[in-house]
């Protein structure tokens, strides 16, 4: 471990500076749709403070896990992953602060909790974007890492969860999620759930994207249950969590709640399916 640790970019000032710059680029690119979404600014000041604080708390372990699996630079021990996770949060927070200030969404005459709320909410997608920057914008020489992910089932599930969170988050704050669910009948919801699950399975195992999973020797049913169904379950749970966080489910009947979860579950499932492409 000693030799490999010395290889890490962490220990080279210039390399780390470049990784940070790349992370900043990733933060802007990945968070841009949400930075320019009206609902996000409004949620930043009116959403429940504890739910927002919890959301920020949850972000750190996600960043840590992403650093372990993908990260904007190579890491070789958990301290490195922690440093990367915190650095990504710093980059995401500062980029969000800078852009929201330029957009005049954040002004100095606003109360501090309002400013912090707006920036903190945006720093979630921005810091995840910062973390993903390596895979998307940087070099791709991570054969080890691929092995590390593929060898572990919890690793697979974590990645699907992170993908679901990231893509689901991109649409969860909008009013359309609830509006669509109001328009749908129960049969539409069933159709959408089947479609989500089917696409999830096809995207991961059939169409041949980069990073596609090989079903190996396992039978169809085993793979379908262990990965596709499990992945869709994770996508639904994350959708429900996002809807709860953004206070979109207060006062909904059980039927409406399930429909809204299935609606948001569609982008989340696609996020879970394509996590390997992004992460």
């Amino acid at each position: 471990m000693d030799i490999t640790r010395q290889r890490s970019f962490l220990h080279d000032e210039a390399q780390f500076a470049r990784a940070l710059a790349r992370a900043a680029a990733g933060a802007i690119i990945f968070a841009l749709p949400l930075l320019m979404t009206m609902e996000m600014w409004e949620l930043g000041f009116y959403m429940d403070r504890f739910r927002l604080a919890l959301f920020i708390l949850v972000t750190l372990p996600v960043l840590f896990g992403l650093s372990y699996f993908a990260g904007f630079e190579e890491t070789f021990c958990w301290q490195d992953d922690l440093i990367d996770a915190l650095s990504a949060f710093a980059v995401g927070f500062l980029m969000s602060a800078a852009l929201l200030t330029v957009f005049a969404i954040v002004r100095l005459d606003q109360p501090l909790p309002e400013i912090i709320g707006k920036i903190a909410l945006q720093s979630v997608p921005a810091s995840i974007g910062a973390m993903l920057a390596r895979k998307q914008l940087g070099q791709q020489d991570d054969a080890d890492r691929e092995r590390r992910i593929r060898s572990s089932y919890p690793g697979e599930l974590f990645l699907m969860g992170a993908g679901a969170l990231f893509v689901g988050f991109n649409v969860a704050p909008t009013e359309e999620m609830i509006l669509i669910s109001y328009k749908m009948s129960p049969w539409h919801a069933v159709a959408l759930a089947v479609l989500s699950l089917g696409l999830l399975h096809i995207f991961v195992y059939t169409v041949g994207f980069a990073g596609q999973e090989s079903a190996g020797d396992d039978g169809f049913l085993s793979v379908f249950l262990r990965f596709s169904v499990a992945g869709y379950g994770i996508a639904l749970l994350i959708s429900l969590y996002l809807l709860w966080t953004f206070e979109r489910i207060a006062g909904l009947s059980m039927m409406e709640l399930v429909t809204a979860t299935v609606v948001l579950g569609f982008p989340s499932a696609l996020g879970a399916a394509t996590a390997r492409l992004i992460v």
Binding site: D2, I3, T4, R5, Q6, R7, S8, L10, H11, D12, E13, Q15, F16, A17, L20, E42, F45, Y46, D48, R49, F50, L52, A53, I56, L57, L60, Q79, D80, L82, I83, D84, A85, L86, S87, A88, F89, A90, V91, F93, L94, Q110, P111, L112, P113, E114, I116, G117, I119, A120, S123, D144
Partner: protein, 141 residues
């Protein structure tokens, strides 16, 4: 674990173990500070703000001429626990018990603990009359 890079050798300390670069310490320290700071501010706000309804008051800041008409700048303050959305404010120029003129403005949001500004237009000079401001209502966001 193949390609050992040349420049990695340089970053090794004398005892042979690598030290984390100063930049990494700074950025991660800053990250920790921002992380704990935001969670702290939000948690503190959550505890102290309470969960009561919006309590919104309106005051006139100043009255200025606006073209052929008059503009009364108004300021809304929400001292309650929750944010009010679509907050309607009505301003009436009164002559005794009779309203000479009524103007209405709607604020998209008046966040808890914050101020929002707006204005009401009148045909008559509000300074010559009693200007009565009323916050009519809100919806939950």
């Amino acid at each position: 674990m193949a390609d050992i890079r040349e420049n990695d050798i340089a970053s090794r300390d004398e005892d042979g173990s690598a030290s984390v670069s100063r930049l990494a310490w700074i950025s991660s320290g800053l990250g920790l500070l921002l992380f704990l700071g935001s969670v702290g501010v939000l948690g503190y706000e959550g505890i102290t703000r309470g969960n009561g309804p919006p309590v919104i008051t309106a005051v006139v800041e100043e009255v200025v001429p606006a073209g052929p008409r008059w503009l009364a700048h108004i300021r809304l303050t929400n001292d309650g626990g929750k944010t009010g959305a679509k907050v309607q404010v009505e301003g009436q120029l009164m002559a005794g018990d009779e309203a000479l003129e009524t103007s209405v403005a709607e604020f998209d949001y008046v966040p808890a603990g914050s101020e929002q500004k707006g204005g009401l237009f009148f045909d008559r000079d509000p300074r010559a009359h009693a200007l009565r401001l009323r916050v009519l209502g809100y919806v939950e966001p």
